[in-house]
Symmetry: C2
Subunit: 355 residues, 2 copies
Amino acid sequence: MSVADHLVCAVMAGGSGTRFWPLSTPAQPKQLLKFLGERTLLAETLARIQPLCPPERQLIITNRALVGAVQADVPQVPAFQVLGEPAARNTLPCMAAAALVAQALDPQAILVLLPADHWMADAEAFRQALLRAAERAAAGAIVTLGIAPSHPETGYGYIELGDELARGVHQVAQFVEKPNLEKALQYLGDGRHLWNGGVFVLRADRALQAIAKHVPAITAELGPLAQLPLGSPAWQSHFEQAFMRCPSISIDYGVMEHETGLEVVRLDAGWSDVGTWHSLLGMRAETQSNYVKGPAVVQDCEGCVVISTGPTLAALGLRDMAVVATLTSTLVLPLDRSQDVRSLVAEIKERGLPG
Amino acid sequence: MSVADHLVCAVMAGGSGTRFWPLSTPAQPKQLLKFLGERTLLAETLARIQPLCPPERQLIITNRALVGAVQADVPQVPAFQVLGEPAARNTLPCMAAAALVAQALDPQAILVLLPADHWMADAEAFRQALLRAAERAAAGAIVTLGIAPSHPETGYGYIELGDELARGVHQVAQFVEKPNLEKALQYLGDGRHLWNGGVFVLRADRALQAIAKHVPAITAELGPLAQLPLGSPAWQSHFEQAFMRCPSISIDYGVMEHETGLEVVRLDAGWSDVGTWHSLLGMRAETQSNYVKGPAVVQDCEGCVVISTGPTLAALGLRDMAVVATLTSTLVLPLDRSQDVRSLVAEIKERGLPG
């Protein structure tokens, strides 16, 4: 048996941001949107890992209100492997629950914890990096994927590389907070910094051991799940009650900062966190000036994101703009103001307009 | 009796342009849109003349398909005074029909022929100019209104002033075609050129006499209407058949270029022909940076036209743009590209998208 046979992938699909309003709504957040082709970002993420990890070894953690929509979107995943968090508790309780389920599925499980809403141009490169990480994890390491930076991004955390342990595998010297532009330019050039992509690979028992050591309150609450039959009403009931009582804390703060021997595997797969309208431009075909989706007529536009999920959208003479229309709302703003969507949504709510 | 008692106003409401797509449609062209407040441009036009000319002396000439919509929009006008042209024949047959109806209403009628879809900031100034024109018309003149230019417009025809006949009244030296920018700048400065506003004031008998002289084919077709009872089925039937057979020719080419003794009354009333999205900026309140109508949230925008007739529209960080949303379509373009709407509408039709 190879390490790949022990992979259990847990996809974190809890986001409900407003960054993609009016496309994203609480009932249809970013991970359930179809930015490319006919699959949602969540379904794309599962399809990307499926050659290594079939649906019966896939696990999705989302918020309770989205469980039905997620099950409908990826019906190939066993229904009881879609966990609905009763409340937001950041990422560490999520990792603990995922590790417990993974261990129930396979006592030697190697857990891959990854976001549901990222995009990769090169899925095969991603799987190769994942396999390399799994091999290191099988030997006891806590492994993260580090993304080769393509520009001096100030919106991400970075990983500083330590010694090289194998081809494409380094010790983690340290995790670095979001840098200023000067630092980001330095990181881009020095070859010693990668973006923190939020993907973790480690044995399930290793995860539970680390959590028990650093945040025992989570182990106290969720640990008893190991004694209950996976998918049973008793399991479900205990999960919901215990999860509510967990402290809210991230994987980074709760575990990673206190562990040593962390490793990072380099990933060079055309990655995007699909974080803003602007990031969609990176997903357009190379021959296209704009990212266009839905019934849209686009004339003399460049560098624009033009999306309609209903109305006929006609855009002319625009540069670097986002134009997004749904049956209920229309958004227009320059791509470099993407983050200001929040301010528009706030005023819409305040004025009681349908959003 | 004053001359005002003999006024009969005929409003030309036949336009069906695409310049205001997606707001304007064949079923709801520009003159039936509510750009300001709760009245359509047509209803505004009738309200503007009403102090001089009550509804029973108002006449509307539109295309046959719009008769029902026009009657519903201005129910105070007697239904048989809404004429539906069976086909487009330019403006001179329209003037002939209007003069015949005006004479049937009042043998001494002074006909005011005016577009349905223009806007004036100062309605009282418009009525004063109209009264002055009516006085000249009562004495036999053919009078047009000339608008004091506010900028070097190259899209309008101009009227060159001759001798001053009375305060604010000049002979027409000549009608001038749309000028280039250099000429337009000269016209703006020389005080001897006014915009041709497309408003004509003349006795109904004078109009019929001029048409009989210069385009007798129209008189031959429509003249017999004078012998039929206004509003009767016989009148209606003859009108439709005779109108179809009229030559298609404009008032300017058919009559004005061949008549002498034309006069022009100066109009300074904050006029706009509401010809493009850009022109709506002139109709905003003075304290506003943008023209906004409908459920819209507008942040950090300047010089923009933002209109929604349905969806919640959110615009941020825009300069000099038009953003227009209806339930079926959304348009976004820079205001200085307003004329390119036609090209978008053409592609929408070609691709069979709902418009």
